[in-house]
């Protein structure tokens, strides 16, 4: 009997136990890996092992496996998707372009690796994510000035790039010393798309073309406009990583030593492992995922939150912000969190001070304009999930008895009235009883 009772009480808890991806635990946990060939599992094992050692549950499937699917009974089976299948023309099972876009639209993460001869399907997924791969199927990124020096690689398509995005949250705080090896196709970003970012770009001397054929027209992609690896953070905080090279994830590139042309230093290991491990941490929300809680505001010197403020009140505002570290919520430390006191436009915009333990606070005077205001925190920083908090609060003018009462400038008037009254009193007595 009691066991049954325990069981019944546990039933509502079941969804909590099974769906590990939540606001409280934003890292993706179950990841579907679609491969062209299962042998990639072994040839790219260092990358996969680094994911598995961080607690991800990888499910390897062939891209044309007829049994694969992203969701069942209206629930997503996976929190993340890795597409290491550049040549796949059609996915098996119920997965297609629309299913993948829907997967991302519902806030899940995606890693796409294309390669030379990337299929139209992979290109389309990339296009929908905001990047355009070079349309020439035989084109590779070539760079005659910053290639990786090699005894056996002569065509300069093996590129050593160290032009990373400058962002600690995306690439980790440790500097990547060795250049990253890249061999594959380049892509360009749509300048009007503000969600997609170039993480690794080509050098100014790079261009994208078929190394085997002569160039008669200028290539469509040249110079630093070529992006080698890009990331997208959608408005729903879903994250996407797009790379033009599958081999940059391979063990061979991870272990390879690298020397950039024209540079005397030879690195024992390429930067690929660090670069991609850090980047995958970002993609799977182990870094740069913020949450805000405990938004509080009150009049200076009080503790309770009022329902209304009066113009010119002094108020104090505070909010707590935490960053997900992959295992727990850590206090987020920054000096650029700002709060706005907003009605149609910000009346007050103030930097918040922090105690370095996650709490952000400030104090300011309510403007002498009444109406319905909002406390707004719009925190959008490179690589971080965006925070958008707003809390509505009305502001009223002074009441009639809240104005200043005894103004010195009015004393002559008061004096005149009271002297008049005194005079009147004396005059009545004198007038009535004087003989």
């Amino acid at each position: 009997m009691s066991k049954l009772l325990i069981f019944l009480t546990l039933i509502p808890l079941l969804p909590i136990l099974t769906t590990s991806f939540s606001l409280e635990n934003p890292s993706s946990r179950r990841v579907l890996v679609l491969l062209d060939d299962l042998a990639l599992k072994s040839s790219h094992s260092v990358f996969f092992n680094s994911l598995q050692s961080r607690g991800f549950d990888l499910d390897f499937k062939l891209a044309d496996d007829p049994k694969i699917g992203l969701h069942r009974y209206g629930q997503y089976l996976y929190d993340g998707l890795i597409l290491f299948c550049p040549t796949t023309e059609r996915f098996g099972g119920s997965i297609d372009l629309a299913a993948i876009l829907e997967f991302v639209d519902s806030g899940h993460d995606l890693i796409i690796a294309a390669d030379s001869n990337a299929s139209d399907l992979i290109r389309e997924i990339a296009t929908e994510s905001g990047v355009d791969f070079d349309e020439d199927p035989a084109a590779l990124v070539i760079d005659h000035s910053s290639y990786a020096v090699s005894n056996t690689e002569g065509d300069h398509t093996l590129i050593a790039s160290d032009e990373y995005i400058k962002s600690d949250v995306i690439l980790g705080s440790k500097k990547i010393e060795a250049p990253v090896l890249f061999q594959g196709i380049g892509h360009s970003l749509n300048p009007s798309n503000s969600l997609v970012l170039k993480v690794l770009s080509a050098s100014p001397s790079a261009y994208s073309s078929n190394p085997k054929s002569k160039l008669s027209n200028p290539p469509s992609l040249t110079g630093s406009a070529i992006s080698l690896v890009s990331i997208v953070q959608a408005r729903n905080n879903a994250r996407i990583l797009i790379s033009g090279s599958l081999s940059m994830f391979s063990n061979r590139f991870f272990r390879s030593e690298v020397q950039k042309a024209g540079s005397p230093t030879k690195h024992e290991k390429s930067g690929n492992e660090q670069f991609l491990t850090e980047l995958s941490k970002w993609v799977f929300h182990e870094r740069g995922h913020l949450k805000a809680m405990n938004v509080r505001h009150h009049k200076a010197g009080e503790a309770d939150e009022p329902t209304i403020y009066r113009v010119n009140d002094d108020l104090e505002y505070s909010v707590e912000i935490y960053e997900w570290s992959g295992a727990s919520w850590e206090p987020y430390v920054a000096d650029d969190v700002q709060v706005q006191f907003y009605m149609m436009s910000p009346y007050v915009l103030k930097n918040l001070s922090t105690d370095k333990k996650g709490s952000y606070f400030t104090a300011f005077k309510v403007p002498d304009v009444y109406g319905v205001f909002q406390f707004k925190v719009e925190y959008q920083r490179l690589g971080y999930t965006s925070l958008s908090l707003s809390k509505q609060i009305p502001v009223r003018p002074f009441k009639h008895n809240e104005y200043e009462r005894f103004i010195p400038a009015a004393y002559p008037y008061y004096g005149a009235a009271f002297s008049m009254m005194t005079g009147f009193f004396i005059f009545t007595a004198v007038h009535l009883y004087s003989k």
Binding site: N151, L158, L197
Partner: protein, 693 residues
């Protein structure tokens, strides 16, 4: 369908691994494999996990000759003796325990071996599935190797026949008689089991059986599959997702079985040497696998191939395929066995070399490479004069000195290797000029030094042309045509235009006629920075050089002119914090200083003072105050009432609100009216009496 998918996929892997389709370069096993092996096979808590994994690790270390391997003999030997001692341990475990023992040489006493051997023979007598045969025969062979006292198989012919009964006409095997599906992987296991049967047999096996089996092997090798780069592999024909082994383990199983069988039989097996070389290339082409199973399969199979009796593959490899003419790099070729040991005496011939893409014109014909016995490298001192910078295909051939060796080694005939010959390119006659459009006369002309810095400053209008020209020559003095020769003009607003610099005969030249480019330039006048990029895979001094700038004066844009494309925005500018905003409060009204107010307060009190002084002057008195008690009381009350009303006004000013004031005033007024009427009528009657009197 599944097959094709798998093949395609594996091809991709291949391309990914052997970077850049360096089609026919296969490097033998080297030290990078050794360090990877130590990384892959690292024991946890003093063991590698199961006995199978332990054997894989030990075998890999043994083949690679790694001496400094982790010490796991204590725990492993214990589990070996436990497995062998127990009568309930599975066949597979026994097999792997014996394999581990074959490497570790644990102390296992003879009785244990005898007991296991007895058990295995019992299993063998009523075995029906291939795996039973494989494990029990394999185990018996291992026992025989480790302890010679175990007696041999009596009914070897019978067992041979019953294993053979599972074979199919195409050289594949079934796992058991009631399983109709045949498998290539099983064929490898069967061959290994059969080889074991032969070695265990007390008497010679029926030769006709051996001959048919040899034919089966030939049939099996007919189904071998091939990649474009000359490597061969086996794969399952029927793909059942569960049992599917993958090309690597399938090929590895066949190689193991085939080499084991070849080593126990005499006489030739009709398998061509290039297929065996192709198999070796397949294993080498994988590079360094990332999981231990694949790694073991690769190394173990290569070890089998290294010592096989049919033909030993020799791998021709080039330490460098990028050779610099300027640095006078030597062409070096190494020939090794798959595991990197030295080859028998031989000569490497450079049969021919041709520029890739053009099959017909060869630049080298038949050259013999010298051999340096110290470094075991075949080399060519200087590249012949006919070889200029470029992208070549070199064709090599291995010629064995000893004709006996030709039967032992597989050299694979001719090997084609792509070679890049690089060099410093001379740049001459670089100049930039502004021309007048109509008569082509030169307006300004400047020399450029493309090896150093330039800061040319030019100006032109839309009726003029810009000409840039230079000459490129190879170290051998020929004209050089680079793959990349771009001229880039970048406007102040970061709008870029790229032109390919073409060549006319010797000269590289580009003429920009601004009249035709006005629209392309979006009518944007102003400063354009000029950048020249020249690069090629074989050009050692590829460069990207800022040449200078040109001040362009273009006509005003007509209304319907195309707009310049939107430019990429620097992401960091999009995200920074905003400037702080502080509200500006309404300034309070201006007020006079307090002293002034007080002074005026004093002034307003002056009339009262004057009034009081005046009253004293005229000598006021209160003689008219009623003397009798009742009017005096009313008079007193009347004046107190007036005082109270005035006090009420003061209170109203100080703190009371209008409602309380009016209420109080109501009572006071009524009271005042009453007492006022009484005292005033009293005073009136008194004064009337006085008048009448």
């Amino acid at each position: 369908m599944g097959m094709a998918r798998n093949l395609g996929g594996f091809l991709v892997l291949f391309l990914a691994i052997s970077i850049c389709e360096a089609a026919s370069i296969f490097q033998p096993i080297s030290d990078s494999h050794r360090s990877a092996a130590l990384e892959l096979f690292s024991p946890t808590d003093g063991s590698f996990g199961s006995l199978e994994e332990t054997y894989e690790a030990l075998r890999t270390f043994e083949v690679l000759g790694i001496k400094k391997r982790p010490d796991i003999s204590a725990t492993s030997c214990q589990s070996v003796s436990e497995t062998l001692g127990s009568s309930t341990s599975s066949l597979k475990d026994v097999f792997h325990a014996l394999k581990v023992n074959s490497v570790l040489k644990c102390k296992v006493n003879d009785e244990t071996f005898q007991g296991v051997a007895k058990r295995l023979k019992a299993v063998l007598n009523d075995a029906s599935s291939l795996l039973d045969f494989y494990y029990s025969i394999g185990s018996l062979v291992l026992i025989k190797d480790q302890n010679s006292e175990v007696d041999v198989l009596r009914d070897a012919d019978g067992i041979f026949r019953s294993i053979k009964a599972l074979s199919q006409s195409d050289g594949r095997w079934r796992y058991s008689s009631n399983n109709p599906e045949s498998s290539t992987y099983a064929a490898g296991l069967a061959l290994e089991a059969l080889a074991g049967t032969v070695s265990l047999a007390s008497s010679e096996i029926d030769q006709s059986l051996i001959v048919t089996l040899k034919n089966d092997i030939v049939k099996l090798f007919d189904s071998i599959e091939k990649y474009d780069d000359g490597s061969f592999y086996f794969d399952e024909k029927l793909v059942d997702a569960r049992e599917h082994q993958g090309p690597l383990s399938t090929t590895s199983s066949v190689v193991r079985g085939f080499t084991a069988f070849a080593s126990v039989t005499s006489g030739s097996i009709n398998v061509p040497g290039d297929k065996i070389l192709g198999l070796a290339k397949f294993f080498l082409g994988i590079g360094i696998p990332g999981n231990s199973k694949d790694f073991f399969n690769q190394i173990d199979s290569l070890a089998c191939l290294e010592n096989n009796r049919v033909s030993v593959p020799l791998i021709l490899s080039l330490p460098a395929t990028v050779l610099s003419l300027t640095k006078k790099d030597q062409l070096k070729v190494k020939v090794n066995t798959v595991l990197g040991s030295s080859a028998p005496p031989l000569t490497v011939k450079l049969v021919r070399a041709f520029i890739s893409g053009t099959k017909d014109s060869s630049v080298i014909e038949s050259l013999e490479l010298k051999f340096d016995p110290e470094t075991a490298v075949h080399f060519l001192d200087v590249l012949p004069k006919s070889v200029d910078v470029g992208n070549y295909k070199f064709v090599f051939e291995i010629v064995l000195h000893d004709s006996e060796d030709k039967n032992v080694y597989a050299t694979g005939g001719q090997t084609q290797v792509p070679v890049f010959v690089t060099g410093l390119i001379k740049i001459d006659n670089a100049e930039i000029a502004v021309l007048d459009s109509d008569h082509g006369s030169v307006e300004t002309q400047k020399k450029l030094d493309l090896a150093g810095e330039n800061a040319v400053s030019l100006s032109a209008n839309h009726l003029q042309k810009l000409r840039l020209s230079f000459l490129l020559a190879t170290p051998r003095g020929n004209i050089f045509k680079p793959h990349q020769a771009f001229l880039k003009l970048r406007h102040e607003t970061k709008v870029e235009h790229i032109f390919v610099v073409g060549n006319s005969g010797k000269q590289f030249e580009i003429i920009l006629d601004f009249l035709g480019l006005v629209e392309k330039f979006f009518y944007l006048s102003g400063r354009y920075d000029i950048e020249l990029t020249v690069g090629d895979a074989v050009m050692e001094n590829s460069f990207l050089r800022a040449v200078g700038h040109v001040e362009l004066d273009l006509p005003e844009a007509p209304e319907k002119a195309p707009r310049p494309p939107p430019l990429a925005v620097d992401p960091s500018s999009r995200y920074g914090p905003k400037a702080e905003i502080t509200h500006i409060f309404r300034a309070p009204e201006k007020r006079p200083p307090q002293e002034l107010s007080l002074a005026f307060l004093g002034l307003t009190l002056l009339p009262l003072v004057g009034f009081l002084i005046g009253l004293l002057r005229i000598g006021v008195n209160l003689k008219n105050f009623p003397t009798s008690a009742v009017p005096a009381t009313f008079a007193l009350l009347f004046h107190l009432g007036i005082a109270a009303v005035l006090l009420l006004y003061v209170l109203f000013w100080l703190k009371l609100d209008l409602f309380i004031t009016l209420k109080a005033l109501c009572f006071l007024g009524t009271f005042l009216m009453f007492v006022g009427h009484r005292i005033l009528s009293h005073l009136a009657s008194t004064s009337a009496k006085l008048k009448s009197a």
